[in-house]
Symmetry: D3
């Protein structure tokens, strides 16, 4: 199967690491394609940035539909554009935020999200609520590094995540950790060793769930919420042109 992983920001170095992580866990018969859109922000640190991804993201889904991919993964922890993407694709579209939380919840009674600076917190909380994980996510712990800081200073990044991960376990009672950014996929293994609890990265979780959905032949429901948008005029947005 062929899976298109869309990193909704324009930082190619992150896309490369996402590709590596996704490929590493994918089955031999799964082909991973990872892209950044042409339009969008360098990173997603707040609501404004999240909305800045949507045009570019939808362009990539549109292209992907024509290219015949078997599934799409949106590789940002705040799951931007998920519902709209499901409208224009009939193959499954999985967000890495929801994927990591569902998997965490099946091996632990609760989890904390450890993430970047605090402006991202309300975005991640929206994912938690939309995914039904409000009673499972006992805390969202922020560090003082933003997403690009984690790119430029991975050592400092691992340290910051370890500190907050430990606080999550010892103070909040977290029994698992979900990483609150696609750029943190590289830290998961080490962090798991440090903390002694399962650590879930969304990219790898989403790849495995997608393989399952495709194996089962599941498609996105076109019954109502995710049905194709009606034809109408869209200016500057990849709608289905009239």
């Amino acid at each position: 199967m062929r899976i298109k992983v869309i990193n909704p920001n324009t930082t190619q170095s992150m896309t490369d690491k996402i590709y590596d992580a996704a490929t590493y866990v994918a089955r031999p018969d799964t082909e991973i394609v990872a892209v950044s859109p042409e339009k969008g922000p360098a990173s997603i640190d707040n609501f404004h940035d999240q909305f800045a991804t949507l045009t570019g993201l939808m362009e990539e889904v549109h292209k992907g539909v024509k290219e015949g991919f078997d599934g799409f993964i949106i590789a940002a922890a705040c799951d931007p554009g998920l519902y709209a993407a499901r409208q224009i694709a009939n193959v499954p579209v999985v967000g890495i935020g929801e994927a990591s939380m569902y998997m965490a919840n099946m091996v632990a009674a609760n989890f904390s999200i450890v993430t970047v600076t605090k402006s991202i917190k309300p975005l991640l909380w929206e994912v938690v609520e939309r995914s039904g994980m409000k009673d499972k996510c006992i805390s969202i712990r922020c560090t003082t590094m933003n997403i690009l800081d984690y790119e430029h200073d991975p050592e400092g990044g691992l340290h910051a995540l370890t500190v907050e991960g430990r606080n999550a376990v010892s103070e909040d009672g977290a029994e698992a950790i979900c990483l609150g950014s696609a750029g943190m996929v590289k830290f998961a293994k080490n962090l798991e060793k440090e903390l002694g609890v399962p650590v879930f990265d969304g990219v790898t979780a989403a790849v495995k769930i997608m393989e399952g959905l495709v194996d089962l032949g599941k498609k996105t429901s076109k019954m109502s919420t995710y049905k194709y948008p009606e034809k109408k005029e869209y200016k500057g947005f990849p709608g289905i042109q009239p």
Copy 2:
């Protein structure tokens, strides 16, 4: 005071009616400017359309900030882009969805939303939940006409809204009605007469709440969620350019 009302879709006839309604209820010392963005969908009927508004909408907020407006009203019932708009403005930004529901809740113990076709329902429910009105909104009743149908056939529109409004009152026990589209502002008066309960249109509700916020000198909190986005590179989106 000067208020910029942004109709996030590109249908100028709707913007004109929104302008008329807003001006009609505004105080003499309130100047209303109503615009449609250059980019965006002809109407918002589902998630995909909602996301299609965001680039154009943000461009209008950006322009408005430079033009020194005292407040912004986002004139679509699903309150698109509200949080991001609050990040880049420091004057108040009010959504017509939340405005109509808060006002309804102060003269009635509950309300129903009467709106367009059913694909809009999950978007409106998101507004209900984000505004804290989950226990107040007892139903969202859809018609079989989409937003543009209401533009082209206002008589049929009034009829459809009256039928569903009556059902809301008699079957669901609604004690007030909120109109679930900016394009319905023209029906509010007649509907109120027909149904015998208060009917709230979001545009006029938002104008009055905005006048209050500006009178009190209130600004958007820049403490955390709505603080200005950090400078970074945005491609194809009106971020604060580096």
Copy 3:
């Protein structure tokens, strides 16, 4: 328009300050009348006091209906008697508790309430829940001064509010503050300067929302919950006498 502001306690010095604040923000064409009932407690610090206001409060609403007021504001943060007042008036009745929270929620992603001694906390939490603001109100912070202490020692009062307001912002992550007593209207401006976040006083918020509701010609829904009480015998209470 003519608005009757009812301070449900019998302390005239508080009523005077409420009158000043309401008048200060009212439009030139809005006439404010502020009263204390003849019956009631000197202040509201707990459930018992809240219930002690109801007879006097309803008497003032009854009188106000005959006097032809265009709206009523109940000027206690716990919004006492709100639903019953709405039953006997057909013009709008707004509580200062709900008014401050709705306005706060439109310029900030969350808020804390800063208030008097802790016995008031469960009353304010009832307002939060009834207004749908449970997910928005992240904390209610109490001081060790009761309402009358704030009357007698305003300097100490400002200090106490500043301390707890700062704790709300720095420890709880509050992005706005709502003042949890009508008697605190005089502190709002200074507090806003000190804390750097929007501070909402309920009296002024309610005046502006009331002006909006009256401008829009809205009346209280008489459909079910707020319909006029049936005629029956009431002993010692201003019911509609048989």
Copy 4:
């Protein structure tokens, strides 16, 4: 032990029936005193009426405290004044609304409330929420008879309750019924026979729970919410006079 049962309305014929029912189920060593206050409404059909009971109700609690009762039962299904009564008594105070629901929940997986006209519904829903029974109470079914109608036409009353009780069981899936008015205590037995599910009347439920609380020597917590009101001036209300 001596239990004071306060029917918060002034209709003595209801008080008499409440006395009979309470006495019938009380243990031989339990003395029941049942009273109506001097002030208050003839019946409670809506919020306005509920608030009209509070002065008279509190006067009866005050008197009862001096008379040394071992417990108080507030005999109206909307549990009026419960928290304030707990403040001025240190013996237990039980509402018949909460009592019936807790007992119902221990012999059935859910219940419906069957009650008077629909204006009472929001009051009963407040009891449901405050008692934590939101997920247990699957419906509140109203009849077209108000409380005094049930006094004057008991046969019609039993018929109306049977019809709605049957609907609750067959349409809503109710596995027990709680009666939504103190005046319905006389119908419980017959209704139980008709419907084939447990039917709980609040008066008798409250008597048995009160006997248990008194046997265990439990007192109302004076730690915070229910502590005695501070001394202050109350005009026209039985506060602790200065």
Copy 5:
């Protein structure tokens, strides 16, 4: 009346103390029989232990039904097997967890549970949620002693409970305490004296509620959830054998 109290673990010394406590508060006309099942764990400290009680527990209920008991009390704070027991008995079955919380909620505005080691916490939280007490239970505080430790070192047990009880009152704002284990019945009196708030033990609370249910002649609803299981083959479990 004859009440069968089933301690679902196999530690007879606990059963003996449960018997003593139940007998002490029971009325003269109430006969208490207390048993431990033949099968089951020595104590319940986690989910695994809870499930280990079910076969033995159901065997005791089955026997008790044949012996004609008037009610059953399941004497473990996590209320194991409650719903299944209600299926096979038609007399009332009360759990000590729910019983203590309902009583606490009638004399205090909230409560904390003080209990054994932290592995029990998620089990008790399930009881809190199932009983509707989610908004009433403000904390579950654990000690470092497990259930059998409390048997062997009662002095240390009282000390540990006092420390955590004090923390619950002063830090969490608890206005009552519920004891989170049947084995703690012996500490209730002393703890109440130490803490100055009502302390509820589930065994004694359940006895009094059961006496009330039996006095009122209430039976378990056989309408749906608690109806008798259909006849089918059960291997190694006391189902109704074919």
Copy 6:
């Protein structure tokens, strides 16, 4: 990898079909072993039956741990014994109830569960709540056939499921269907064709999620809730014997 699928009831014909379905979707490198315990009920139709599975189920997990399986699937839609099984295994344990709902939620905005007779409904609702799917599951529709009826009359079974599935889609607005019994795995394909929405069977969903968890090397968190039970005496239950 080797996965042990435990059908907690003792009906071998169901176990055989579960084996076939699991094997059909498993990857070539995944070995499925499917078993029924020696102890337990012939089917699970209510709480009593659910509890009747636990001893036999835990015996199979214990055996499976010694046999070195890489994961366990509990193949009953009510996910019996899930938390206890996670305590004694350190490899992942997945319930088919949660698995089907998480997958459904990723291709549809909501879902209905279609299942056997109504006594199963409260058990399935517990799974919905525990899995966080309360806002996603819009209805649980029951048929009049119990689990064994579906074994003996598959044609009638498919018909009953189709009828209720259609009702779920057209009346409740379901956008996907989850099958509420392991014995329905054989109907999924046909039903999907009939209904035009994705239909999820839990057995196949769980197999794919398990393959993903094992691929990622995830283990059950032993931090707190799912840590191994302490050694103590268990009579008649497969605890870790002293």
